[in-house]
Symmetry: C2
């Protein structure tokens, strides 16, 4: 085999794997957006076949030989080729440790789990979800023991979403956050509360959808390559490559900002995915490098930009155009204050910036204990409720608004949640850096996302997975990551808002 | 290899092929229902990979050996296993004759063609579509020369959609129809015309969608296994098996029956697909046996039932519920007469029962001549317009309402159209047979589809592809197919309506 031919074969293999990913992602997307209710088993049947084919393709003799040959010639490869080989080898070495039948069975289990979770959430029935969730945690533990027997199983999970992340680092990070957030929340609670009255009314879903599309355009999202759909839980997905991305939202008739900030959040993910350099398409390098960096983008757009006074003043007239009756007694400042009301609450995706990370910490705590074998899945609801009371001071009235609220566990994403908090903190430091060269406030006053998107594209997006997340972050920031940049940002913004 | 093991392997292979079909069909469906505009190339990339994998799986050494082994032991197989082997061998023998790169390139071409056709239709630009349509006809001719060099290429195409159909049979069939339809149309044109005024107004799309779902329920379609979406051209598709079927429609704001009859038509297809016996799922035997039989079901529901006085009288109050303002001056009889107005027109899918087959004949004539090399693709618009004037007496004002109206050619379905006319005629004879045991008129008066669906299920649907279409038809009818049963039906119904 000569090296040139081997490289060609490598990209053929990558294109094949991208096609399987496209098919499997689309089957998932279809399942949650438009498939008829009783078709999950049918999707499971197909996914079991496709995931088996994908497994064989990824770990087959020919593939392994090809990658090992290329790995042996790594020094002669371009940076891109070498990185592709490195990531592909890492993936297959891991996949090979999981027996194929278990790998396939897990894919099928997750289709069923998604279906069961939807029903369980709808009917507020944790008992229905519990047996399948037990299987998911068991499988995650078992796979961790196959792939990284030397590690704590939860460290293995964390590392999947943010390369290098461990419980030790999380504990340190969360304790830094806590040391500043808890006093801040206390101070805020002693002040006069803001009102979010202007957000609550009756908001027609069709008008909300129109507004969502308008928002996406304002953010600079190319709608000819990015679609919008409605699902129970908002998410972003790439189909085959960064040339076809879909975001989803969920319209709350009583409160239009629920969907507005979902769209901006998922729009941030979409911009990141769509910003990969074109020559990365159909390779393992296409898309975001880690979930932490991904959330640094989504939460950057959602909060650092979306909840800024400048952006709210820009978007307010457009809100009024969509909802003239509902908005007629309010000002941009009313909306700005309303979307920044700090109040301990039940739902993570709708939480304010200050209390948000506490929601993440509850989940982190629970996952860690389940993965350590200290907590049984059946006891998750009571522990969830206990921690919400302890961390946030709120009584959880039902599992629908409690332990069943997120789709992550039913999707097998154990270890994902810390990315949200990490990403939020990364984002604050990225913003500080960006402000050295861009007048972000002025851009937001004019709804001008172009310079900001360009900065992110040049510094982050275009690299796809070419760098390790930590290396990328170091390069972007030009200094070590410092969680207190985030808490400083929160203290300043909310200090001003609450007169602290 | 022992026989039991071989049969197991056969059904594993079938399940794999069903999974590829699921993925590829869903990618097509996504493309026409919800994908962002500029994503066709991305889908083409994935489809080229999947169709190559499907080709390799279908024609690979292991598959061929398996099927040949089973074929050699055919006499020891159950009827179902033997039929599965027979159909699978027929398929792969044909596929093997087409070089893989050409097969894959054609799948990719069709993705592009669908995209180009949508734009061409939207902008009324045949020149845009012409080069790709030329490639499609060329490929169809080339594939015909590979697969059935002994046949006229158009006979090869016809046979794909209705096993055993030839130009000779079509000519005979169409000439029988013409001998009775042309005089009937002439007589009708000399009578006082019916009015369809009640159908034209402003009909909100959301109300139309609600009405569509209501119609599907009334027809006995299980909505937990059958979805509804909107597309430029209505169609029905099964995803992986008959457990997940989708129909599509297109809402015309000015005329609600356009979508109403599309839904009933596609609903007929869906009922047929969904009616396969459960043990046929994930095999080549699942779904309809031929497009002629398929159209016998769709046009049966659309016309023989849907445009009957009895059904219209049943559905009228529900129409009034959805559109109370628009319907307030009209009666059920007004609607019945309106939906049976006979008038030569431009659009096939909206044509009345009497002139419908003339629309089909135009397409048949053109396809036959292009496939024979007598007509160039670039001359299709002028010939289309000439034949519409000759057969239907209408001037075609633009290509959008002319040669660009149907999605069949862009989808590579050359030879499909005659199925519509054949199916209509099969349907009339099936109805006559059904009426020997079921009081169909009484069922329709009460919107009671259950006994009719049950009859179709027992006699047609449950067999899937277990029988050849001609054998199935003979068994259902218990007598030879006779196109004059259809023309008798039309003469009786329209004779009464027009006082002939």
């Amino acid at each position: 085999m000569d090296l040139k031919q081997a490289c060609e074969n490598l990209y053929k293999l990558q294109a094949k794997l991208s096609a399987y990913n496209h098919a499997m992602s689309l089957i998932y997307y279809d399942g949650v957006t438009s498939a008829p209710k009783a078709t999950a088993a049918n999707r499971g049947q197909t996914l079991s076949v496709l995931s088996e084919e994908q497994y064989i393709l990824s770990t087959g003799k020919e593939t392994v030989e090809l990658l090992e040959f290329l790995d042996a010639h790594k020094s002669e490869l371009s940076e891109k080729d070498a990185r592709t080989v490195g990531l592909a080898i890492k993936d297959i070495r891991e996949m090979q440790k999981i027996p194929m039948d278990e790998y396939v069975a897990y894919q099928q289990l997750l289709v069923e789990a998604d279906d069961v979770w939807h029903t369980a959430k709808e009917t507020d029935d944790f008992d229905l979800f519990c047996p399948i969730l037990e299987k998911i945690f068991e499988t995650e533990k078992r796979f961790a023991s196959y792939c990284a027997p030397e590690k704590h199983p939860y460290d293995y999970c964390l590392d999947k979403y943010e390369n290098g992340l461990t419980m030790e680092k999380c504990d340190e990070f969360f304790s830094a956050l806590k040391s500043r957030l808890v006093p801040l929340i206390k101070k805020i609670s002693e002040k006069e509360q803001l009102s979010d009255k202007c957000l609550w009314n009756d908001f027609d879903e069709i008008a909300q959808e129109k507004f969502s599309l308008e928002l996406m355009k304002i953010m600079g999202i190319d709608l000819s390559h990015c679609g919008l759909a409605t699902t129970e839980h908002p998410f972003t997905i790439s189909l085959g490559s960064h040339h076809d991305v879909r975001i989803t939202t969920n319209f709350n008739r009583q409160n239009f900002v629920s969907s507005m900030f979902s769209v901006i959040h998922e729009g941030g993910h979409a911009l990141y995915d769509m910003g990969s350099a074109d020559d990365l398409a159909y390779t393992i390098l296409d898309g975001g490098v880690s979930m932490g960096i991904h959330e640094s983008q989504s939460r950057f757009y959602e909060n650092l930009l979306g909840r800024s006074r400048e952006f709210v003043s820009f978007i307010f007239p457009k809100i009024c155009e969509c909802f003239p009756e509902q908005m007629k007694d309010y000002t941009a400042e009313d909306v700005y204050r309303a979307v920044n009301l700090v109040t301990p609450s039940l739902i993570r995706t709708e939480a304010d910036e200050v209390t948000y990370c506490l929601h993440v910490m509850v989940r982190y705590e629970l996952e860690k204990r389940v993965m350590s074998g200290e907590l049984a899945v059946k006891d998750l609801p009571s522990e969830w409720n206990r921690l919400y009371l302890e961390y946030l001071g709120v009584e959880v009235p039902n599992n629908k608004q409690g332990v069943l609220q997120d789709s992550h566990w039913s999707g097998g994403s154990v270890g994902y949640f810390p990315s949200y908090a990490l990403g939020s903190a990364y984002g604050a430091q990225i913003l500080r850096k960006m402000k050295q060269t861009i007048d972000v406030d002025d851009c937001m006053k004019n709804g001008n996302f172009a310079p900001i998107n360009e900065w992110n594209r040049e510094n982050i997006w275009k690299y796809g997975r070419l760098m390790e997340p930590n290396d990328l972050l170091d390069k972007v920031l030009g200094e070590p990551f410092d969680p207190f940049v985030y808490t400083d940002y929160l203290e300043k913004k909310y200090g001003e808002l609450y007169g602290i």
